[in-house]
């Protein structure tokens, strides 16, 4: 199988991740629940993971690195901590359902700062116009559909000036682009552990820039057990129940692997492969490639093939051993903004393990599909 669906999950993991998961399942118990060796060793893994991720993402206090089960989980905490029914919330035109659905559930007055694909100046201007009076803003760092790197630094600057707390959805950028949460001054940044960070599924991280956080679930934390209220302190307040220790051990191994290679190196590799793919498909009749020459696209690219439904095309590619994702990618807003809602797209996304051969083979098979 040629894996080109890394924007969904990083199916290929470093061997060190698999080993860390196995070792955790063999040797680690539950942190914060006992003073014996296996519990303390588990606690040490969690703390080292908090520190590693804190260093990667500019969070100086490890307690502000909260483990979640996914980016969706983290975004729900972030949104439900900041937004009350009727509050005005500004979001980019490229947000995932992990943002739009919690906002809908809360009953927020959502304002879309819509802007054309790959037009960063327009994105900043759209936020500038919509921000006054907002209770919060949400912006993805990178679109999961188009690999478009949004101007999150500029949007964060605008939010700081207007005093609007910003939630950054780093689902597609963590492990691929540098992100400094404290420099951005964002209220929260949420990310999955299983995509660019190369950890196992069921892991995620929420970086907390604020202390007033709303619990989604309540329960045991191994601290302040005498009280029937959740502790006010992070990370305990947001980490009720037993931790996913094997998952977090794998996440730490994934983060270490990335730090050893360097985020810039990974970005360069994935972008080069994306450029190779788009070069092979550009200008071909019946193929629309959503790309830009500017350095504002990661190794994620969407295609539209004339004369064949995107789901049919992805199915055919799957039969030929190439895994890609078709449809709306849980981001109908992004498709609406880019004008691809009716057709959907085929998304091809690279990982550090993707090769030139994978990309050439995918291009070859795509060319065979178009009439």
């Amino acid at each position: 199988m040629i894996w080109l669906d890394s924007a969904a999950t990083s199916f290929q993991k470093p061997p060190s991740v698999r080993f860390a998961v196995w070792k955790a399942m063999t040797m680690l118990s539950s942190p914060g629940r006992g003073g014996y060796a296996s519990a303390m060793a588990a606690a040490d893994v969690l703390f080292r993971c908090r520190c590693a991720l804190g260093e990667m993402f500019g969070v100086s206090e490890p307690e502000r690195v909260v483990f979640t089960s996914s980016a969706t989980h983290g975004l729900n905490i972030a949104i439900k901590s900041l937004v009350r029914p009727g509050d005005r919330v500004v979001i980019s035109g490229y947000e995932h359902n992990a943002v739009t659905r919690p906002l809908r559930a809360v009953g927020a007055d959502v304002r879309i700062a819509a802007s054309p694909l790959f037009d960063r100046d327009a994105a900043v201007e759209a936020f500038r116009q919509e921000l006054p009076g907002a209770a919060a803003a949400v912006c993805c760092h990178v679109s999961n559909v188009f690999g478009y790197v949004l101007p999150v630094e500029e949007i964060a600057e605008l939010c700081r000036r207007k005093g609007v707390p910003l939630i950054v959805d780093a689902s597609q950028s963590a492990g691929v682009l540098p992100l400094d949460a404290e420099r951005l001054g964002c209220a929260f940044a949420a990310m999955p552990g299983h995509k660019g960070l190369l950890g196992p599924q069921g892991t995620g991280v929420l970086l907390c820039g604020v202390e007033q956080v709303q619990t989604l679930i309540e329960g045991g934390t191994g601290s302040e057990s005498d009280s029937d209220e959740m502790p006010a302190l992070l990370p305990d307040r947001l980490e009720a129940g037993t931790h996913n220790v094997p998952g977090i051990a794998g996440l730490l191994a994934g983060a270490d692997w990335i730090r050893e290679r360097g985020v810039e190196c990974i970005r360069e590799h994935e972008t080069a492969l994306k450029n190779r793919l788009t070069g092979l498909l550009r200008g071909i009749r019946n193929i629309t490639v959503f790309e830009t020459e500017e350095d504002i696209q990661t190794g994620v690219v969407s295609l539209r093939l004339g004369g064949i439904d995107c789901e049919t095309a992805a199915e055919r590619l799957g039969e030929r051993g190439i895994a890609v994702r078709a449809g709306l990618h849980c981001a109908p807003l992004a498709h609406r903004t880019a004008g691809t809602l009716e057709t959907g797209t085929i998304r091809i996304s690279m990982s550090p393990f993707s090769t030139e051969r994978d990309v050439s083979r995918a291009a070859e098979e795509i060319l065979r599909l178009v009439p």
Partner: protein
């Protein structure tokens, strides 16, 4: 005997122990005796008497001051708190 520095949570105790380690001070994370953990389960860091003064200074300057400090005797009995920052 050892000084037992009680922190507000396990993560805070780990943060304190890491600060000490970086200053060449040995700090061992341990669960607090129930009699001292007034809010329920809590964690502390054990430090030898010879390193206690320096440990306290390192933790204070690193923004990781413990909530309370006890003396833990060799037989496991607890004295104190000798310092209470709560």
């Amino acid at each position: 005997m050892h000084y037992l520095l009680m922190f507000r949570s396990l993560t805070y105790a780990q943060r304190g122990a890491r600060l000490l380690e970086r200053s060449g001070i040995t700090g061992t994370i341990t669960r607090m005796p129930r009699s001292a953990a007034t809010k329920g389960c809590a964690y502390g860091v054990l430090v030898s008497p010879t390193q206690y003064e320096r440990a306290a200074a390192v933790l204070a300057s690193g923004g990781s001051a413990p909530e309370r400090v006890y003396i833990r005797n060799a037989d496991g009995s607890l004295e104190g708190p000798v310092h209470d920052m709560a």
